[in-house]
Amino acid sequence: MTSSSVHADAAPEADSHAHHAPQSFWSKYIFSVDHKIIGLQYTLTGIFMAVVGVYMSYVFRMHLANPAAHIPFYGVLSPAAYNSLVTNHGTIMIFWVAMPILLAGLGNYCIPLMIGCDDMVFPRVNRLSFQVFFLSTVLLLVGFMAPGGAFGGAWTSYPPLSAKVEYNLTPHGNVIWLLAVALEIVAFLLGGINFVTTAMNSRAKGMKMFDMPVLVWMIVIATIIFMMSVGPLVAGAVMLLLDQTLGTHFFAAQGGDPVLWQHLFWFFGHPEVYVLLLPELGVVCEIICVFSRKPLFGYKTIVYTTFMVGILSMIVWAHHQFIAGIDPRMASIFSLTTIIISIPVAVIMFAMIATLFKGSIEFKVPMLWAIGLIVEFLLGGVTGIYLGSSALDVYFHDTYFVVAHFHYTLIPLVAFGGFAIFTYYFPKVTGKMLDERLGRIHFWGSAIAFNFIFIPLFFSGLAGEHRRIYDYSGFAELTTPHMQSLRTMATHALLVMIAFQIPFVINVIKSLLKGAPAGANPWKANTLEWTADSPPPHGNWAELPEVYRGPYEYSVPGREQDYWPQNAAN
């Protein structure tokens, strides 16, 4: 217990790490305070919600390809149900899939393992965080059973539509939706406290700040951005709740201002994009270094530019509101800041590409997903320049071009990045190797189908097709066979992409049952998590590791081995 005395007084649970008494199923897996179990709880809940979210997209894409037809596994889609599916698809994919998997799941599992400590600083706060999150998940899904149906005013929930029942016609759905989102945010605030505190206080002996893997930096910076930006949203949510339930007028035309909500929402909503982006870039950095056997190019530069991304992300929000009735002179400023944020992101992307230079690259499945992420995310990134340009946004705002753009950023991050994390850490979490061949089939099938979903939508958007429209029959310019063929192509590609998840499921089940044993360090990586057993026991190490060098000492000249674990004395 001596080596973890940095936070020995933080929680009584810390004592129990020293002697691992056998635990019941409930205390081990359901009410656990172990950071790894909590990370897995978040991840599995996120995967479950991903299935729900994909099912929703399946239903409304089927409807758009073939309006008013009977949809297998659903039925006929009504306008009210269409709105609520579109709304909750967005809400779920951001708040209940991306956040729990990329931030909470990854952060909880990896931070203590990567910095060489036995658990988070506040294990019981961590458990509370997941419990609040679980409650919010249940609450969101209950919204679909509420009389009047689930909320259907878009994931941005703009008032007055979201504030008054006579406008949105979902008397309970809107309140339940708002409460669920607010609870979810509480959960991540609780978890975030742990991430930052643990990374600051519990690093292994010998590990300086710049010896931390870049992934830990990214999660810490993402958490700080989240904490700094979420306050106004919570305040806004309370005001909106009062508008909904007590009839106050914070966002009403008389006495209040509907546009105020948009500022509060996007002040959080845009930094949120970077909250999701940064952990993913961190994962890609780790994976690229391991599978190209190279040190990370410009480690400190990446960390410093990431801070710059964080700061800039706070002053770009109004680019969502260029045509929302803000002062036109303000738009030029936000257009400038938005385009400037491409600079630090470009530094990070270029540094990742430079890491490949003169490497010894091995395309194992995690590396395929990581490189796939870079290749696809580039298209999402550059198309953001169109939307950051205020004058072009006049045309593109709320068209399918926007939909295609942000799916080209979020699907590489959440799906490609998620699968990269999954395949990279599966051996550590389960002790079993995944099947490479099934993994490659899964990657290529999903990646190709993904492009055929969203490239057609760029062209729909260019032709002026707006989002969230249940029925295009009223618009002569949008009912042409060409426009319909774009919609149909996207839907068919979605079905193909869903079908290509079958090899993944088979792979996971097969590998769990009879995968080859992974050993502690199957990828020959340097970072500390690979020095623990697979799977790591409660407490992670019998004796906590000591660190002698940075995390990216690959292919060091003069050494026989091409890796040099952080804890190896020589």
């Binding site: 306008p79 546009v259 036109p328 169109y386 340009s389 004058a391 002026g464 310019e477």
Partner: protein
């Protein structure tokens, strides 16, 4: 962007020109970056006996591989910013003198348009009010006075490259100058509830003579509201009220 959609307003060409400028600049960077990733990925595949180079990117000399391209990116960003600010200034920050004014009222789920009556003034009893059917004269500067009765809507005419949210409690003035006669779609671009997808309207751009004839016809049969027959041949889509049953 004429390949995908017509541009029929005075500033459509400016916005489309900006689109092609951005496409050229980011297209260059996109192709270069993709090319390098794919080239590295293929060229530096693992070979037996070949060790990776130990390059940490700590020296300025090595960092220049990243920073020189970044300086070039900054220059492209600057170009895009200046071009954007100039187009934005013409489209949204300046307001040319109006030839005609039109009142636009968004509500769940229809657009109500008020045209100047014979007296040439908006807001007088002889205004011609239509639902989902807007008429304007070609080559005239049109001011639209945008309001909303209930929730946010967004008045969008894709072919004009015009879009502006309407906000309850506010009156926002926008402008466009149509250049080609015809009948075009008007969409609501901001989700506004159950009938959002049905909030379709048509804009008829016509010559002064056709417009006068339309006005006379409407004034003569003042009961011919809403959706008076358009003077130009309209495509099959029905412009009239399509509000779904609650």
């Amino acid at each position: 962007m004429n390949h995908w959609i017509k541009g029929v307003s005075s500033y459509a060409a400016d916005i489309d020109g900006l689109f092609w400028l951005v496409t050229a600049l980011i297209g260059f960077w996109f192709i270069v970056a993709q090319g390098i990733v794919i080239y590295f990925a293929l060229k530096y595949r693992r070979k037996e006996g070949v060790k990776a180079a130990y390059i940490t990117g700590k020296t300025w000399r090595e960092l220049s591989w990243v920073f020189i391209p970044v300086v070039l990116v900054v220059m492209c960003d600057g170009w895009i910013d200046v071009a954007t600010a100039s187009v934005w200034h013409n489209v949204k920050e300046t307001l040319p003198t109006a030839d005609h004014k039109v009142g636009v009222m968004g509500q769940q789920w229809a657009w109500t348009f008020s045209h100047e009556g014979p007296d040439g003034k908006l807001g007088t009893p002889d205004d011609i009010v239509t639902v989902d059917d807007l008429h304007v004269v070609v080559n005239k500067v049109i001011h639209v006075d945008l309001q909303s009765k209930d929730v946010l809507h967004s008045f969008s005419i894709p072919v004009m490259r015009f879009k502006q949210d309407t906000i309850p409690g506010r009156s926002i003035t926008g402008w466009f100058k149509p250049t080609v006669p015809g009948v075009y779609d008007v969409q609501c671009a901001e989700i506004c509830g159950l009938g959002h997808g049905y909030m379709a309207a048509r804009i008829t751009v016509q010559t002064q003579a056709d417009y006068d004839a339309w006005m006379k016809a409407v004034a003569a049969g003042a009961t011919a509201l809403p959706g008076a027959p358009a003077a130009s041949p309209a495509p099959a889509a029905a412009p009239a009220t399509q509000v779904p049953q609650k």
